[in-house]
Every structure is written in C-alpha cells, then in structure tokens.
C-alpha cells in the first residue's frame, strides 16, 4: 500500500502535470471544436458540448467494434479471418500489431519452430533464403568491426537455441552449473576451432595470469569453480577460452548502459492498479457480474425464467433489477444501486460519457479506453454486437441487444470498483465523497517503467552469441563503445518476435516450395483429356476434405473425372426440408438469398407424411417433457425417483456400444425417411412474393443461368459423361457444440445436399437443357445428373431422387453407387491415418466402421478433423493437378481459363472462393497460433451457454474461435492460392473485388500464377509476380494413394499417384 505522505507528495507533482495535460487536452478539444468553444481559463476540462462528446463516444464505440470477435451464435458457424480488423495492414505487421492489442501470440512458439526445424518441416535453406530476402530489403550491416554481418548474426541465433534469462536466472545458472566455463556443444566445428585457436595466442601461460585474473571482485563464483581442482588437460583450453570470453563479455557490458524500456502505460484502471497491487484484479470482481447479466439477457431458451424487462434492453433491465436495495451486495459494488438509480432513464451513450468523465479519462484516450474496456470481455461484447447487427441470425429470441448498453454497465461497474479500490488502497485520501477523476493520470505516472535486461543477463547473452558467431574474447575486447552498442542493439532487435517471424516465413517457404515443385513436375506428365467420353463425372465442393475423395474416385480410372466448385452450386436459397420447421439460408454468408425452396412429400405419400409427423411430434413431446421435468421441483422429484433408472439403457448403450447405438438410430431414421418420398418445390409457380420477401422458387431463366454458370465456372461445357454426380457435403456428429463448423462453408455453415439435389434437378430439366442449347451449351440427351450428399464425418454418400433415374441409366447408376461406396471406404481409410486411436494397420473396412463410430460417439471430441491442415488452393483445370497426392490439404477449384475470354469467370471465382478459403485458413491459423487468445482452448471444460456459444466452466467469457481438438494437427501457413492463369489476368481479376485485392496485396494469402500454356509458375510478392524456379522437379511416384500414406501419421509431401493418371482397369483391387 502506498504511504499517505508519498501519495500527497506525488500528488502535488501530478497536479501540476494534470494541469499541463488538461491544458493540452483542452487545446485538442479546441481544435476539435474548430473554435466553437472559447478557451477556458479554469484548470478543469472545459465542459464540452454534450452533443460532440456523444458523437466522439459513438465514434469510439464504432471503432472498437472492429476489434470484437465476429462470431455469431454458434449453431451457424461461419469461418472468418480472426483478425479481420487488421486486413488493411500487411500480414506480418498486422499480426504483431494485433498481438499488442489483444495480448496474444503473433506466431507459434520458438520451441515449436525449432521442433519443425528438427523434423525437417523447416530446412536450413529456407531460413537462409528468408534471411537473404530480408537483407535485400533492409540492407545488411557490418557488426563487431566487420567480423560479422547482421545476417550472419541472425543466422547463428536462429540455428542455436540461445537462452535469454534475467539477472536472477543467470546468477542461479552461474552458481549451479559451469556453463560459462564450457563452450556450447552445438557449435560448428570451424567456429569451435576458431575460438580455440585463441587459446594458443592469449593464454601461453595461464599460471602467471591467474593471480591477476581473479582481481575482478565481482566474480567470486568463478574463483570458486577454478579452485575446484585440476581439469583434464584437453578441457583446460576450452575452459580457458570460455571463461576468458565470459570476462570479456562482463567487461563489455559494463561499458554500455543498460536500457530502460519506456512502455506506454495501459489505459484501464484495472491494469494500472494491478501493476501497483498485483493481488487486486478488479476484473475478477466486475466480470462475473457482467457475465451473469449478459448471459441472462441474451439467453435463447436454456433458462426457464427469462430476465424480466429484457425487451427494453440490457441497461434498462439491469437498472430495474439492481437499482433497488433489496439484497446484500459484495463490498465492491455497494455503490452500484445508487449509480444505477442515478442513471435511470438516461441514454446509455450519456451514461458512458458521464462515466468516462468520472473516471477522468481525457477525451483523446476515449477510443483506446473504450476498446480495451470492451476487449476485457470480448466474447460477450462481440456476441451482443453481432446480435445488434444481425437480429435475424438469432436462434430463438431477437433480444434488443445494444453494445452501448453493455459498455455503459461495464464502465459503471468499473468506476464503482475503482472507487472502492481507491478507498481501500489509499485510505484517508479517498473517501466516499472524494472523486476519482484525478486518479487515472496519477496511476499513469506511477506505472512502473520496464527495465531492460540487467548487466549479468546481457553479459550472458553476449557470451553465448559470441560463441555461436565465433567472436573471441580478444575480438570483444577490441570493440569500442559504439561498436558494442551497435552489436548489442542488433542482438536486442532480433528479439523473440523477430526470430519467430523469420522462422514462420521459412516454414511457409518450405511448404510453398514443396507444393510448387510438385506442380512444376506435373507439367511434363499431364495432358488434357481428349476423345473418349468419360464413364462418369462428379462435381464436388472445393472443400479440401473432398480432395482425397476426388483422388480416390479418380483412381478408379481415367474415365472418371471430377470437378470442384463452391458447394452451394450457385443455388442460393432459403431451404426447408420436410423434417425442418423453419427455412435456413444455404449459400455463402455474403449472399442474401432471394428464393425459397421447400421439400414436400410426393402427392401419394402425403398421408404417410402426416402420420410420420404426428409420430415425430409425439416423440418430441415425450423427450421434451422428460428433459424439462427432470429439472422441476414436484414433477422432477417424482419423475427422477420413479423413472430415472430407465436412463441406464441409453447411458450404457451410448457409452459401451457407441457405433451400434448410432447406427441403430441412423437406420431407424433412414427407414422412416424412406417411407415418405419427397421432391423439391423448385420451380416458381406463383408470382407472389413470400412474407419474407423471397420468391417461392426459381423461374426457368434463373435456373438456366444457374446451371450455365456452374458448368462454365468449372469448364464442363463438352465431353459430358452419361452420369454426372453432384455432391454437396455436410457433417453430423455428437458431443460437438462446434458441429456447424464442420459443415459446408459455401453453404454458410449448412449442409449442401439440398443444393446438389436442386442443381441436379435443374440440370436434368429438358426445358433448361433446351435454353442452354440455344445459348450454345449442349448437354447430350443421354446425360443424367444426380444429386447427393457426402457426410464428411462418417464417409457416407446419400443420393437424392435415385428413384427418378431413367431405366436406361439404372444399371450404370447402380455401378456408380457401388463405386462411390468403395471410394468412401478408401477415403475413410486415408482419414484414419490421422486419428491416433485408429491403428496404422487398420483395414479399409475397419476404417470405415471406425469413422462411423466416431460420428455417433458421445465421448468423441474429435468426430472428424474438419478443415485442419488446409493450406493450398488450386484454381485451374483439374487435369493439370490430377494425380497429385495433396494430403487433403488443398481446396480444388475447377476453372478453365481458355473459355474465360472476358476474365469475368476468374473474377467471380476469386470473389467467391478467396474470402471463404482464406477465412477458413486464417481462422485455423490463429486458433492454432494462440489457442487461448484466438481460439477457444480445449473442448473438455466447455459449457454451452444460452444456446449461443461456449464458456470455459461455469462463468467465463464467451469463447470464440476454434477449439484445440479441432486444430491441433494444423500447420499454420497462409493459404497458397495457385491460379492457372497469366499474371496480368490475375492482377486484373484481383483488382476488381476490393476484398480480394486487400487480401492479396497485404499478403493475407499467397498468390501464385500458373501459366495455362507453359506451366511456368510465378509468386506474387510485394505487389508483383516474380518467376519461380523449381528447386527440383523430381517427385516420388507411387501406384496408388494408399502406398504413399499407409503407415504414416505425419504431414506428407506431394507425390504422384499413377492410378489416378493412367488408364487403369476400373475395378482393380477396390476394397470390397
């Protein structure tokens, strides 16, 4: 606690300073007001026009909203760039900037990069290349009298794990080990020789020197170690060299002054007080209350009793409930009811302004102060803001959420808590009547400066670094003061973040080179398919999880072709299935659908449908009543006592026989579904708009445009097979609040089956075929489209409208169905290599059973691995990348630049694909870089709150981002977008969409041009395309995927899979 006298002393000083600052503030205000206000003579802040203060405050809030997480209610999970607010800045700068604001990590840890270095995921060539590129930009610098360069210094530091410790730790190290008497064991042999050579010159006669050697009084430790008796002779020289170097370093750092790092004090009182009194964390008092309020206010139906008065907004509801004096309060918030009482009826913005003034925050600081105050509970603040912006996305109750309400309460509680803390910490100075408006500046002044490393610490660092760069004691002693300062500052500049940045760039480079070399090697061996009509074609989503599925499909033979396009197949619609009770949008989040499509039972099955619905309703009522009654007093008591034991059946079944139970449920559902055949109400038969303003279906022109657009996008305009499968995807799993994050991103976190079904129905429609033919796109009459949905969790394909398949195609479809089943099994087998609980020698059939069990297992926290490991996006003709094993890491977008005369297909493809792909990629990137700060940590303690999101345990901030279990195997690298087009055309397409331009120019994705004719690659760097020279175009060649991945769990480099390229008999050793 601060002594009272001290306080007054410092207060006098600060009062002067306060005046100074306030004068400055008032000057700012004057400028701000453009002379509206007369200069004020008094010492206090001029009373600003309330209107302007409000405006300023509103602007500050608007500014702060960019920094809040953009994740909405969790039942529709949309991947987005976690740092979307920073997209205007270049990627690397943005990461470091954001890490300061959020208190997060910008890159992986140095240890992790070193592990990658050891495992070969980063090579030394990569580090060298990155350092070369850096020194090209910044220029290199001679250090230590020209003996080393900055680049060589940095290189040496990167390749040797240098311990950087504070004085205390170094002192401990010196006492407990003889580390300053040995050379490092990881030195290059040449450097080691260089250091040892010194021994011969400088230490011709050690014994003579010994007496003077120990003159230095501050080094008792060394004296002691030297006195420990004789060392083996061959170590004596090393010992002398190391010790002498240590002395040289100690002497060197004594020449220069230790640095004091001036850090800007934090703006929030909580942080300022915590710096003085570490045991007092005001947020620990305030946050639980705010969490309770926000959760109660936003709740979508978990609580049986909703917050009274919440229809009038959070602030009003809370002031109504808490302004009365009915109930004991915690010591810190005794003043809260009065504060709420006083603010009753006020506009929240006015409350915020008043609280800011009471807290004594100068107006120029409002923006930062408000931002940091909101970031303290960013999850809840973000959710309130999301619901304020998109009340239509709320699952059940659209409560009138306003961020200003939340902020007003936050600041009011903060102020009350600060007043309480001030009274407690500086008793006598602050009492109940004393205002705390001067406290802020006072605390800012008191904020302790961060001292730079002390002498010992610097000497120790210098000692290690001199060794790794080969500087001897003599070299160090030869340096003058300026040289030393330059050397030390070069070392200090290359701090942890700078090192991790270089490592990260090297990490990305290695990955990039692997992929680009593989692509370059493809150029010689691939050729466009010609002539023979393919046996079957399949259109998939671009999702990287479909990569392996497509590859296995292609391994059936060269007459099987695949395409990739955004998984909503250009059918943007609100959709309601027969089992759904409301429509949901199935299209990318940026599109608001204009059409609604319903699934209805076939006319002959309507009766069945009604019976089924009735049964379902009965079942729902029973289940709902059961889960509710177990929580009520009278019914619950009786119910639990009498019937609770029945729960033993599902409990044992679910835990002991998860797959059996899940399959039982799925089979029952499938049987019940099969009884009611359905169709889509796809075509608009009614010109009137629906109540929500959408059209009830599409007209023929619209459908033609959709089919045409997709077929053109993917370049499927000729050589149609007799069967074309269109496969959307989704994922169903239990025990997974983030279930929606595994669904199709192009369907806005929904399942793309209905889109595929709609597209296939459209493409089969003879009228649409005719209009397409009129426009020059001829689909042969005997070509049949069939829609389906791939469940990426249990690897199962469900077909739609198979019963409508004409008899002429029935047997071919049956073959296709069987083949796809086989492909599902192979795909499951490839996926299983990533699951530690699946043995490496698992057979394909067991693997399929394994993934089925995962999907239905209540205990499984990793039902599937989602988009983890995604890293590449290839936009181009499939035949050019076909046959490459891309390890489920690549988004594959079909695009044919030869038919894209106007370049508009590329423009729209990029506009659709880049935000989705980069959003997914960066969300994984940040969630793995800082699992706690950007992700939502481990899933195990997650607790679903208000049906909106998850908390850790019983009361925490709402956790946004992805859980650790989802991202743990992810390698955080920026998406490598390879576009099969010329650099000029790519630049032209990028320019046209602002968002894509931002992502590309600021390098939030790495863009590569792949020339459609020559196959030359060029990488987009610093605003221009630079030709890429492959390091090696030798690539491993295997006959089938399985021979490449079998027995491996780790990331695999690309390989050429012959089966997918050559014309092999279709049925060759397909798993049965």
């Amino acid at each position: 606690m601060i002594e009272e006298q001290d306080f007054w002393n410092s207060r006098e000083i600060t009062q002067n300073k306060t005046c100074r600052i306030e004068r400055k503030v008032s000057q700012n205000c004057e400028e701000f007001l453009h002379g509206l206000l007369r200069p004020h003579a008094s010492m206090t802040l001029p009373p600003l026009s309330n209107l302007l203060a409000r405006e300023h405050c509103q602007n500050a809030i608007d500014h702060a909203t960019h920094y809040l997480p953009a994740q909405g209610p969790i039942d529709v999970f949309i991947h987005h760039n976690t740092l979307h607010a920073f997209e205007e800045e270049p990627f690397e700068e943005a990461l470091i900037h954001a890490s300061h604001i959020f208190g997060t990590e910008p890159f992986l840890t140095e240890t992790r990069y070193r592990e990658e270095l050891a495992q070969g995921r980063i090579r030394s060539e990569d580090v060298d290349a990155v350092l070369d590129a850096e020194s090209l930009v910044q220029g290199d610098q001679q250090l230590a009298g020209g003996r080393i360069t900055r680049k060589s210094l940095q290189r040496a530091i990167l390749f040797h794990a240098i311990r950087q410790e504070d004085d205390t730790a170094v002192r401990w190290t010196l006492t407990e080990s003889n580390v300053v008497e040995c050379l490092r064991t990881d030195l290059d042999p040449s450097v080691r020789r260089q250091l040892l050579n010194e021994d011969a010159i400088a230490f011709a006669n050690v014994d003579d020197r010994d007496s003077t050697f120990f003159g230095n009084e501050d080094d008792a430790v060394r004296r002691e170690t030297f006195a420990r008796g004789s060392f083996h002779k061959q170590f004596a020289s090393e010992r002398r060299v190391a010790s002498e170097l240590w002395h040289a370093c100690v002497e060197a750092v004594a020449l220069t002054r230790p640095s004091i790092v001036h850090v800007r004090p934090p703006v929030r009182h909580r942080d300022l007080i915590k710096a003085i009194e570490p045991s007092l964390d005001l947020d620990a008092f305030v946050n639980p209350l705010l969490i309770r309020w926000s959760a109660a206010f936003l709740d979508q139906g978990i609580a049986a009793w909703p917050m009274p008065g919440r229809e009038r907004g959070l602030f009003e509801a809370v002031s109504k409930i808490y302004s009365g004096k009915n109930g004991p309060l915690e010591p810190w918030n005794i003043a809260l009811p009065d504060a709420l009482q006083a603010a009753q009826g006020m506009d929240p913005i006015d409350v915020i302004v008043a609280e800011l003034e009471r807290l004594g925050i100068p107006q120029p600081q409002w923006q930062v102060f408000i931002r940091q105050s909101l970031l303290s509970l960013r999850g809840w603040a973000g959710m309130i803001y999301q619901i304020e912006q998109r009340p239509d996305r709320v699952p059940v109750v659209a409560v009138p959420a306003r961020l200003a309400d939340f902020l007003a309460l936050r600041l009011m509680c903060d102020r009350v808590a600060v007043e309480w803390a001030a009274q407690r910490l500086w008793r006598g100075v602050f009492d109940k009547t004393k205002k705390i408006s001067g406290l802020w500046i006072e605390l800012q002044d008191r904020y302790p400066p961060r001292r730079g490393p002390g002498g010992l610490s610097r000497a120790f660092l210098l000692h290690q670094i001199s060794q790794v760069v080969g500087l001897t004691a003599r070299n160090i002693r030869a340096l003058d003061e300026n040289e030393l300062i330059r050397l030390e500052s070069a070392i200090a500049e290359f701090n942890g973040v700078a090192r991790r940045r270089i490592f990260h760039l090297a990490f990305e480079r290695h990955h990039r080179i692997q992929i680009l070399d593989a692509l370059a090697s493809q150029v010689r061996v691939t050729q466009a398919p010609v002539g023979v009509r393919p046996q079957a074609q399949a259109i998939f989503c671009i999702d990287e999880r479909c990569e392996s599925f497509r590859r296995h499909f292609e391994e059936l033979g060269s007459s099987f072709e695949t395409f990739g396009t955004a998984g909503f197949f250009a059918v943007a619609m609100y959709y309601r299935g027969i089992d759904d009770w409301h429509t949901s949008p199935l299209c990318p989040i940026v599109i608001r659908p204009k059409h609604t499509v319903l699934e209805v039972p076939e006319t002959h099955a309507e009766h069945e449908h009604r019976t089924r619905q009735a049964w379902r309703r009965r079942y729902g009522t029973i289940m709902g009543t059961m889960s509710n009654s177990s929580r009520t007093l009278v019914r619950g008591g009786l119910f639990t006592a009498l019937a609770g034991a029945i729960a033993a059946v599902p409990l044992v079944a679910r835990v002991v026989f998860p797959r059996f139970t899940a399959r039982l449920g799925a089979t029952a559902a499938a049987i019940s579904r099969k009884r009611v055949p359905t169709r889509l109400l796809l075509e608009k038969r009614n010109p009137h708009l629906l109540p929500d303003g959408t059209h009830p279906g599409f007209d023929v022109n619209e459908m033609t445009a959709i089919v045409r657009r997709v077929l053109e996008d993917i370049g499927l305009t000729k050589r149609f097979a007799r069967l074309v499968a269109v496969l959307g995807h989704g994922s169903a799993s239990l025990n997974n609040p983030h279930e929606s994050a595994y669904d199709c991103g192009a369907c806005g976190g929904g399942r793309g089956g209905p889109n595929a079904r709609a597209f296939a129905t459209m493409a089969n429609d003879p009228r649409i075929r005719r209009s397409l033919a009129d426009e020059g796109l001829l689909i042969p009459e005997d070509t049949q489209f069939i829609g389906g949905m791939l469940d990426t969790c249990c690897d199962e394909v469900r077909w739609f409208d198979a019963e409508r398949m004409p008899a002429s195609h029935a047997s071919e479809f049956a073959d296709l169905e069987a083949m796809v089943r086989g492909v599902s099994i192979s795909n499951a087998h490839e996926r299983c290599r990533r699951f530690e609980t699946a043995p490496l020698d698992i057979t394909p059939l067991e693997a399929h059973r394994h993934v089925e069990a995962r999907a239905g297992d209540l205990a499984q926290v990793r039902p599937e691995l989602g988009h983890a490991t995604n890293a590449v996006c290839i936009i181009g003709r499939r035949w050019r990348s076909r046959g490459l094993f891309l390890d489920r890491r690549a988004f594959l977008v079909s695009y044919d630049s030869s038919i894209d005369i106007e370049n508009d297909i590329l423009t729209r493809t990029l506009a659709a694909v880049a935000p989705v792909g980069v959003g997914i990629n960066l969300e994984y990137f940040f969630s793995v870089v800082d699992s706690i700060g950007y992700g939502c940590g481990t899933k195990l303690p997650h607790n679903i709150t208000g049906l909106l999101g998850v908390m850790d345990g019983h009361a925490s901030d709402l956790r946004t981002g992805l859980p650790w279990q989802m991202v743990e195997i992810h390698e955080p690298v920026r998406l490598l977008v390879v576009i099969e087009s010329t650099p000029e055309r790519i630049l032209c397409a990028v320019e046209k969409t602002p968002m894509v331009k931002r992502l590309a120019l600021n390098e939030w994705m790495q863009v590569v041009a792949w020339d459609p004719d020559t196959g030359a690659l060029s990488v987009f760097e610093h605003g221009k395309f630079i030709p890429y020279l492959p390091e090696s175009i030798n690539i491993s060649v295997v006959d089938r995927s399985i021979s490449w991945y079998a027995g491996h769990r780790e990331h695999l480099s690309p390989a050429r899979v012959l089966a997918a390229m050559e014309n092999l008999p279709a049925a060759r050793d397909l798993p049965s």
Binding site: W305, V396, G620, P650, T938, L940, H954
Partner: protein, 451 residues
C-alpha cells in the same frame, strides 16, 4: 464357513480392485514413465469391472439369503485397553447394491473418459484421481466403522476438489476447487467430531456397537443423547457434500473440470455421499426426531432454493448442477421422513439420469435441433409457474435473488470470510507485537510492552 470366506474375498476384492488400479497407474507415473493412454484405460477398466463383478457376486450371494449384515474384519489399527480402532467392512442390503451401482458407474465413466480425454496433457492425472475417487467411494460405502468411513470420505473430498481444479492453469477452476474443498473441510468437522463422540461413547468406531440388526431395520444400541449428538454432527457433515443450503455455493462452480468428472461427481456419486452416510446411520436418526425434522426443513429449503435459482441459469452445466441440488434436497427430505428404500432408489435413479444428462450436455445444440424439428417449433417456454402469483415487484426481487444464487456467496463473504480474516489479521498483529516485545532489548526502556 466357506460362505463367509467367499464374502470376505469378494468384499476385499471390491476395495482392492480400484486401489490396485490406483497403484498400477500411479507408480509408473511416479517413476516418470506413465502408461500409454490405452493401457491406462484398460487397467482402470479392468479394475472397476472386476470390482463391479465382485460386488455383483456379493449382491447375488447375500440377496439369496435376504441381505444379512456381514462384517468383514480386516484388522485393527490400534487398541488401548477397551478402546480399539478396528478396520471393518460391512456387506449388507445397503452397501452392496450401492457398491454395485457406484463401481458400475465408474466403469462407464472410465470408458467414456478414455476417449474424451484423448491427448489431454492431464490424462494420467485424471485417471489417477478417478481411481482414487473409486477407492474412496467403495471404502466409504463398505465401511463398517466410522474411522473407515471417514477415510473414504476424505479420499472422496480430495479427489473431487482436485478434479474441479483439473485445468489448474485457469484461475476460475482453481478458485472453484478451493471453494469446494473449503466447504468440504468445514463440514468434515462434523464427521470427525462424530467419530470422536462415537469413540468416547462406545470405545470403538464400530458400527456394530452403535446399532445392530440388518439394514434397514437396525436398532440403535446407544443412548438417545449420543444418538442425537451423532445425528446432528452427521447431518452437518452431509450438508456440505450434498450441497445443502447454506453450503451449496460450491456446486455450480464445481462444473469447471472435464465433463465426465462433472457427471460422476456432481451429478451422480459425490453429491449423494452425504445421503449415503445418513442412510447408513438411519437407526441413530430414528432416535432423534428433531434432527429428522431439521433435515426435512433443510432439504425443502435446498430444493426450493435450487428450483428457483436453477430456473434462471443460462448455461447447461449450472442448470444441471441446480437440478442435482434440488434432487439432493428432496432426498434429504425423504431421509428425514424416516424412509429408507425410497431415498436409496431415488439416489440411484437420479445418479443415472443426471450422469447421462451431463455426459450429453455438449450435444445440447444437436439435441435441441432434433427436438425442434420433431416438434415443428421451439419447445415453448413454460406457460405458467408459481412465480406468476407474485407481483411484478416481487418477481424482480426474486429474479435478482435467483441470479445472485440466493446471495449465498455474498453472505458467506460478509458473515464468515471477512470476520474470520479480520480475526486472523488481528491475531497476527497481536502475535507480531508479542514477539517484538519478547525479543526486545531489555536495556532499551524506551519501548513499552505489548499494547
């Protein structure tokens, strides 16, 4: 006497199986070479399953004979004159079914947690604590003397608290763990004192000297005064573990650990430990009608409290915690009413149902969507509840009370924590001055004595 021998081995096996498991996974971990995940789950699974089988065999054997009370004497800790602390276990109509159920549930949770905690850094620690819990549970349930019961009770408390603080890198979890442990320890005073009283009264901790006959029709052997005293102390002890008002604040906070531990501890077993102890000593309670009435009151207040507070909880685990608390209050009432079999059935039923609910809680969104699809709409909020009888003002008052969880935390801080801390601070200052005075320089007369 082969029958007796058989029971002896079976009962020992029920206890030894989880204890051996604890050693089997604990020792390698202690030596720095923890077992693999798969081996750990298998060992623990084998331990609990064999314990369960042994319990099942005992159940059948005893059940065929109409559940006589079988005492298994393991040894004597110490004896002084007439006074002895024996290590006895008892197998009867209460303990054997209960061991069956608790070991079975532990085995299930083990199977669940093996997958749930896959690749978690604290994997081995979790299973160590789970087996410690299982051992403690069986020790407590099978206890034939109050000393053994206390030992089991303490293992239970310790493992519970450590599992609440499983994610010890988060301060919330550690705080919650500490709060639960403090509550436990305060209420442990009851059980410990009860032990002392029993020893003083009958010269041994043996239940056989307190009551005789077969459960649930045992009759009390000690004087009414002792019975009342012990009953009061046992009820006090049970209140903490069973989260009865005013010791219920810790329960909702306890949902900080991994889901399976929340399920087994706060949904199923730990929360019913108090009820079990009271059922075990039912014949003493019969002698103390006033205590029984107090239990009815405490149980009703708890149930009412939990019902009101539970209604406003917005996260699943807190809601389930209050639902558990409510049932535990009702069970208290049932025991207070002098019922025996009903509360036992209620405990088992409730534990199974609640475990399933907590284990399913991460799937709540999935389940909710299915339910909505089946119902064709949102499951409507309740149309009417007794709160609608109140005026709007009173509703707001009650809502705040519920949101503040009955003001339990605040009252605890203001009525107990702060005064106790002030007392300690006062004592510390006094001690400091005393030492200063004692250590004063005798020649220096300028300083006075202790003030």
């Amino acid at each position: 006497m082969s029958m007796q021998d058989g029971i002896y081995y079976l009962v020992v096996c029920q206890l030894a199986a989880p204890a051996m498991t604890f050693a089997l996974i604990g020792l390698p971990a202690l030596l720095g070479r923890p077992l693999s995940e798969q081996a750990t789950t298998r060992v623990v699974g084998a331990g609990f399953t064999s314990g369960f089988m042994a319990a099942l065999a005992t159940l059948v054997t005893l059940g065929l004979q109409g559940f006589p009370s079988q005492v298994v004497h393991l040894g004597t800790w110490f004896s002084v004159g007439h006074h002895a602390a024996t290590i006895d276990l008892v197998a009867d109509g209460l303990s054997v079914p209960y061991v069956c159920f608790s070991t079975g549930l532990c085995a299930l949770v083990n199977a669940f947690a093996g997958k749930y905690l896959h690749r978690e850094p604290g994997f081995t620690r979790f299973f160590l604590l789970l087996t410690l819990f299982g051992t403690g549970m069986n020790l407590m349930v099978l206890a034939g003397s109050i000393d053994v019961l206390f030992a089991g009770w303490e293992f239970l408390g310790l493992s519970s608290a450590l599992l609440i603080g499983f994610f010890h890198e988060r301060s919330n979890a550690v705080n919650a763990s500490l709060r639960a442990y403090t509550t436990y320890r305060i209420c442990d005073i009851g059980l410990l004192t009860a032990g002392v009283v029993v020893h003083a009264a009958v010269g041994s901790g043996d239940f056989g000297k307190l009551f005789s006959g077969t459960w649930p029709n045992a009759h009390c052997l000690v004087s009414t005064n002792v019975a009342v005293g012990v009953s009061i102390l046992l009820v006090f002890a049970a209140m903490g573990k069973s989260a009865q008002v005013p010791f219920s604040g810790w329960l909702a906070r306890a949902m900080e650990g991994p889901t399976p531990s929340s399920a087994i501890f706060y949904g199923a077993l730990s929360i019913h430990a108090g009820a079990y102890v009271l059922l075990r000593c039912e014949s003493l309670l019969d002698q103390a009608p006033a205590v029984q009435w107090a239990m009815v009151v405490i149980g009703s207040v708890t149930a009412l409290h939990a019902s009101v507070v539970g209604r406003v909880q917005t996260d699943l685990k807190s809601m389930l915690a209050y639902a558990s608390m409510m049932q535990s209050g009702i069970i208290f009432v049932e025991i207070g009413l002098g019922w025996r079999v009903i509360p036992l059935v209620h405990v088992v039923s409730h534990a199974i149902l609640r475990s399933l609910q907590i284990l399913r809680s991460p799937s709540a969104l999935h389940d909710r969507h299915e339910l909505e699809a089946a119902l064709g709409g949102h499951p409507g909020s309740e149309a009417w509840s007794p709160r609608h009888l109140l005026s709007e003002r009173s509703q707001v008052w009650l809502y705040r009370l519920a949101l503040e969880r009955g003001y339990q935390d605040v009252s605890m801080v203001r009525l107990i924590v702060l005064p106790v801390r002030r007392l300690f601070e006062f004592a510390a200052r006094g001690e400091e001055r005393l030492i200063m005075w004692l250590g004063r320089d005798p020649t220096d007369s300028s300083r006075g004595g202790p003030k």
